[in-house]
Amino acid sequence: MPQTHDLNLDAAFAALADSTRRAILARLATGEATVMELAEPFAMTQPAISQHLKVLESAGLVVSRIEGAKRPRRISEDGLAAMDEWLAMLRTALESNYDRLDKVLASMKQPAIRRGKKK
């Protein structure tokens, strides 16, 4: 087992345990943004967003660069990978809904066919 990789993943998942941080990460996946730009859609103060960014940065999911007085943030390779993991998990939840629905539909079929015969 690659121990260091597991540790990274733990930090990543801890960072992703918060829905605001996931939303920030999802926003950064579509392009660079400043704290001000990030704060806007979340109805949160800039210090609150900065706090979330700090968690994401120390987990290695988000990186920043300096551009004059600004510090635009972007998602890192690890951030993209973590987001993929997260979305794969959610996709699995969605798939399992529809897999369940397949079974429900199969059990509905019996009466539907009987009724359908008179067409």
């Binding site: 926003r27 579509t30 993209l80 939840a93 969605l94 399992s96 809904n97 629905l101 509905m108």
Partner: protein, 154 residues
């Protein structure tokens, strides 16, 4: 085998398609009958839907409440705008986490596809940020997406 497709369209849409081995009328019923919905619309393993209200008529109310049986839960409310029985529904919905998320406008089509059904669910969010936030929040009736990678990489 993955029969699910999930794509973003423009700035604010999410389009989900899925094929089913049952006629459109049956798939439509499974999406609108409050006795059937709690059997499948559950998200991750271990969650249940103890409250399911689905009034399938224009202006009819939707309310789904989920719980994980360990004190965690949330709910969704909505209203139907249009219905073509067996073929199409249009409704708005929002999650309560507990704060209400912005309205998601959802058009669902059930089309005959050979002996089965092609379901196409087209969601419209108020803006791109809301779409990103919704997908990242998770549990939008298990409706979350892999779009971030698709768009983020482009």
């Amino acid at each position: 085998m993955s029969k699910l497709t999930l794509l973003t369209e423009g700035e604010t849409h999410i389009v989900v398609t899925r094929r089913f081995q049952a006629p459109p009328e049956a798939v439509y019923r499974a999406h609108t009958d409050p006795k059937i919905i709690p059997q499948w619309l559950l998200g991750p393993e271990g969650w249940t839907m103890p409250v399911c209200i689905n009034e399938a008529r224009p202006g009819g109310k939707i309310r789904y409440e989920w719980t994980n049986g360990q004190g965690r839960g949330f709910y969704l409310t909505g209203e139907y705008l249009e219905l073509e029985p067996g073929r199409r529904t249009v409704h708005v919905e929002r999650m309560h986490l507990p704060d209400a998320t912005p309205d998601n406008h959802v058009e669902t089509r059930f089309e005959k596809d050979g002996t089965g059904t092609l379901m196409t669910m087209r969601m419209t969010l108020p803006d791109a940020q809301t779409r990103a936030a919704m997908l990242a929040t998770g549990m939008e009736h298990g409706m979350e997406a892999s779009y971030v990678r698709l768009e983020g990489m482009s």
